[in-house]
Symmetry: C2
Amino acid sequence: MKSQTKTIVPLILLGSVCVVFGLTLYAQTGSKSNGPVFTADNQLMRPANYREWIWVSSGLGMTYGPREQANSPAEPRFDNVFVTPEAYRAFMKTGKWPNKTMFVLEIRSSQSHGSINKDGHFQGDLVTIEAEVKDEGRFPEKWGFFPFRGSEQTARPAPPATTECQSCHSKNGAVDNTFVQFYPTLLEVARQKGTLRQVPPDSK
Amino acid sequence: MKSQTKTIVPLILLGSVCVVFGLTLYAQTGSKSNGPVFTADNQLMRPANYREWIWVSSGLGMTYGPREQANSPAEPRFDNVFVTPEAYRAFMKTGKWPNKTMFVLEIRSSQSHGSINKDGHFQGDLVTIEAEVKDEGRFPEKWGFFPFRGSEQTARPAPPATTECQSCHSKNGAVDNTFVQFYPTLLEVARQKGTLRQVPPDSK
């Protein structure tokens, strides 16, 4: 019995150390799953920590339609794009987006003169966020779009195939419905992996 | 002996599961320490994965001096700012930057017409990166600046106090040498934590 105790105690200690090791790493990295969470009635929960996801790029005043439809006549707006870390890591390996990939498009105002800045633009207040989610079991087109209104904590899906988002992304996305053509580091990965779709340079 | 084996085997299994659990989380999150690494002769190693750090903001064509000194006469450039995740988490709790905080400023070209974009700007090729590191034991001014030339893997520190970076940051940084005034979400945290320095709106 004494010998058995001698063997068991270190094993229990080892087990405990491992649990603590795993949980400490988990807490330090804050790596809870970042995948999409839906309510019972198919609304997407607002992701609280998207600014801690992987940022893929930002643009200023980008305009897909005619110039007159630009998003703000006074000051152009910034669009910042984030993707879930899990999806990013998969993309870096394969050049493809796995199921449950989620993007957030964050729109912010721009400012020009402030503090020591004399020209150009820096980022100001949050205007709105929209999410794009890949869920092949949930959406007939594989991807769903969720515009969040104001600070609401849930968003209803934009109707599939009828929205501008859906039709423009599915027609023009360089990789699987997403605008990788505007994310320079991901564009390079897609080129290397051969997953880039040919996009007509001036398609509408 | 049989009973002892019965007890030990599940414990070994438990231990193994815990090790796998810990290592899998570690691998998934890729959460190696992101702090600055120096060579023996005080050069900073180029951080390989800074695009996976926390992005704090981007600007376009920002100009601190007179307009004529703008960074590109033809097309404005994007500046993207990343900070180490450990430093970011400390800042979110305290509004202050801990020792070993590291920022990367990434400069990219901008493009206007490409794919479906008709106006405004999206990001293009990498131009250069610079790092700013807080190391109170290493730098008399607490912070050091490291401009990386081309794709070189190490950078020498810019001479302290004589560089434009150093003097402008120490004079105008909203929080401890850093331009938190241009990072909207961090600015809000600094306001809440009371760590924001009053910055003269038009100081040069």
